[in-house]
């Protein structure tokens, strides 16, 4: 009897809550939408060395290495500006393709090629953002972490210094700080 009542109550509760949640799901951003927004926000809390840009008007370039997980969401960030610079998006299939780039999103599709990619990235003055385990520990600057359905991130302060980037303490206060560990 009690079991049945509880079951009915749960069904009722689901019925009541289901409608708003459906609507909420439509409205709530997906994981990669959040990550894309985070990418942009990272850039806002990071300062590049002066020689990273040709002049005051040159654009800031977001590179995507590997498979593009964002899909149509990329269209939504078109025309945005960061630090007063126009944002351009460049997609690279291979690490050798990488040319002028300020932010590089390393897709999870590249996790098996890290040993080939990282030596190059360690030398470059690029804010690298990974989407795979141990990316930061392996020398990436920022790495996305998903815990309890919430998007968080790790920051390798050493990697940031290496890349000549100044990362805001506000950003650091939100991140899990990691160090290089081969």
């Amino acid at each position: 009897m009690i079991k049945r009542t509880v079951t009915i109550l749960i069904i009722l509760a689901w019925c009541i809550l289901s409608l708003p949640t459906v609507q909420a799901e439509e409205r709530l951003p997906s994981e990669y939408q959040v990550k894309l927004a985070f990418l942009l926000n990272f850039a806002r809390f990071v300062e590049w060395p002066k020689d990273a840009f040709a002049d005051a008007n040159s654009p800031i370039i977001l590179g995507i290495l590997g498979d593009d997980p964002f899909g149509t969401s990329l269209a939504s960030i078109k025309g945005k500006t960061i630090h007063g610079r126009k944002l351009l998006i460049n997609k690279f299939k291979d690490v050798d393709d990488i040319r002028d780039c300020h932010i590089l999103f390393v897709s999870s599709s590249e996790k098996n090629h890290l040993s080939r990619i990282m030596p190059f990235l360690r030398q470059a003055k690029i804010l690298t953002v990974g989407d795979m385990r141990k990316f930061a520990q392996k020398g990436g600057v920022i790495n996305f972490v998903v815990e309890n359905d919430k998007v968080g991130f790790e920051i390798n302060v050493d990697a940031g210094k290496r890349a000549g980037l100044q990362i805001s303490s506000k950003l650091l206060s939100l991140a899990r700080i990691v160090r290089d560990s081969q």
């Binding site: 926000n41 806002r44 809390f45 007063g84 991130f153 506000k170 950003l171 206060s173 939100l174």
Partner: protein
């Protein structure tokens, strides 16, 4: 004292209130400023938490606001307005926040709310709201008011002490001055002096007052002197005037007396004149009756004598021849001759009396003034004298003659007599020439009648206007009344008659007749 205290009190009160008001306003402004700064700092600190959707960190950041006990609550809102993080002071309940958040600050009765945008990379990513209570403001207000009341009462008390001390120094000279002024104005005594005090404004005031008093006193003295002099002058002038007046009065009285006397004399004269006139009239009138008797009885005697003569002739025969001759001579020659003398004398006497009558009539006749043409009168007189003029072949020249206002009959008498005389006394040995001219003057007319007759001897000139005087010549007739009559008439008109004459050359009579007023004034 009261005024000073009130003034001081009001000044203190106003300045205190202004100070407090200013303090409150500036404190409130600084509170708003500090809240705004806090909101900006907190907002800026929470940009990362907000942009990376980390309410936990945002709440931690907001929690730092607990260091400011006046902040009641603080919230961070997303761009869409939803509450992202919230801070509440210990023991505070959640207060509703009205949804449309407007940047800036708003002040309610007991709270200040500051709303600031949270900006990241020039883009608003959310809003921060901080609400503070006014506990500190009210506390400060209370504190200031207390301080002010203490300062106010203390200042007033000190002011009171100072004023009462100073009043003595200030008011006693003034009171002294007032007393002196009172003495001056009440008793008019300018000799009093205010005691000069210290060498300050009051001292110079007293000194100035004293100088003024000195000046007034000297003016007063001078004025008194002038007044006395003036009085003396006035008194002496008044005395002179009175004297002159008295003299004038005396003279007036004398003059009046003289006038009265004159009038009396004039009256007496008039009476005498009237008496004379009536006397002349009476004499001439009454004398005529006996004359007529004499004349009548003389002729009666003549007739009787003539009747008696034949009878006497008869009776004379009885007498001797010599006696007869004597009687005859007496009766026929002496008696008629005497009778003829008597008769002619009586006739002459009658003529004389007639003339006197006429003269007295002229003197009494009423004058009737009218406008008379002198020319007409002269012509009519010459006409009546024409026979004589032709007989003596006299040339008469008549000049331009005016019209004058006068009694016509009197003028006829005057001119007639003068012309008659001129003709009568012409020289027999040369042809006669008579001239009549007139001379108009401002106040009258002068008629001039000239002849080339015998003239009048200087010895006779004084007598010629007298009654019954006649020129010394046997060949003329007249009663000697003409010139007397002319003079009488001319005098009645206020005129005068003058005569220029040279024996053997001629005579000129000038008659001045003044202008007669129509009112018919009569000259006596």
């Amino acid at each position: 004292m009261l005024i000073s205290m009130a003034t001081t009190g009001v000044a203190l009160l106003i300045s205190g209130a202004a100070l407090i008001f200013n303090e409150m306003v500036s404190y409130r402004r600084s509170l708003v400023n500090s809240l705004t700064v806090q909101a900006r700092i907190t907002g800026s600190n929470s940009t990362a938490a907000l942009s990376f959707n980390n309410p936990r960190v945002a709440n931690e950041i907001l929690g730092a606001l607990s260091a400011a006990p006046n902040i009641v609550q603080a919230t961070i809102h997303t761009r869409e307005g939803e509450i992202f993080a919230r801070y509440l002071r210990n023991g505070e309940r959640v207060k509703p926040i009205s949804p449309p958040l407007k940047n800036g600050y708003s002040i309610a009765a007991n709270s200040i709310v500051v709303v600031e945008p949270i900006i990241l990379d020039r883009e608003p990513i959310g809003t921060i709201l901080i609400e503070s209570d006014l506990r500190e403001l009210l506390g400060r207000l209370w504190w200031y008011t207390t301080i002010m009341v203490i300062v106010f009462s203390g200042s007033l008390w000190i002011a009171f002490l100072l004023l009462s001390r100073m009043q003595r120094a200030v008011t006693s000279p003034i009171l002294d001055l007032v007393q002196v002024m009172g003495t001056v104005s009440r008793e008019g005594d300018y000799s009093v002096r205010a005691s000069a005090w210290n060498d300050d404004e009051l001292g110079s005031l007293a000194q100035g007052f004293n100088e003024m008093l000195v000046q007034i006193q000297s003016r007063d003295r001078e004025l008194e002197l002038h007044r006395r002099q003036l009085e003396q002058t006035v008194a002496s002038r008044t005395a002179e005037l009175a004297e002159a007046n008295k003299q004038l009065q005396r003279e007036l009285v004398e003059r009046q007396r003289a006038e009265e006397q004159l009038q009396r004399y004039s009256g007496e004269l008039r009476d005498i004149n009237d008496e004379l006139k009536s006397f002349a009239y009476m004499v001439s009138h009454d004398l005529r009756a006996p004359l007529i008797n004499i004349k009548g009885f003389a002729s009666e005697l003549d007739l009787a004598l003539k009747d008696a003569i034949p009878l006497l002739e008869q009776s004379l025969t009885s007498l001797c021849g010599k006696e007869r001759e004597q009687v005859r001579c007496a009766l026929q020659q002496d008696a008629p001759e005497a009778l003829g003398f008597i008769s002619s004398s009586v006739t002459r006497m009658d003529a004389l009396i007639n003339a006197v009558l006429q003269l007295s009539y002229m003197g009494r006749r009423e004058i009737r003034l009218e406008t008379v043409s002198v020319m007409t009168i002269v012509n009519s007189i010459l006409q009546s004298l024409r026979h004589q003029l032709e007989q003596r072949s006299v040339t008469v020249t008549v000049g331009e003659l005016p019209e004058i206002i006068i009694d016509k009959m009197a003028l006829e008498q005057i001119i007639g007599n003068l012309l008659d005389n001129a003709v009568k006394y012409l020289a027999a040995e040369r042809p006669g020439r008579i001239e009549v001219i007139a001379c108009e003057e401002a106040d009258g007319t002068t008629l001039r009648i000239s002849d080339n007759g015998r003239g009048i001897a200087p010895g006779d000139r004084g007598k010629m206007f007298e009654l019954f005087r006649r020129g010394n010549c046997p060949d003329t007739v007249g009663e000697g009344m003409g010139l007397a009559c002319v003079k009488t008439l001319v005098r009645r008109f206020g005129g005068r008659i003058e005569c220029e004459s040279e024996p053997g050359v001629g005579t000129t009579f000038s008659v001045f007749i003044p202008k007669q007023s129509d009112s018919g004034k009569e000259y006596q």
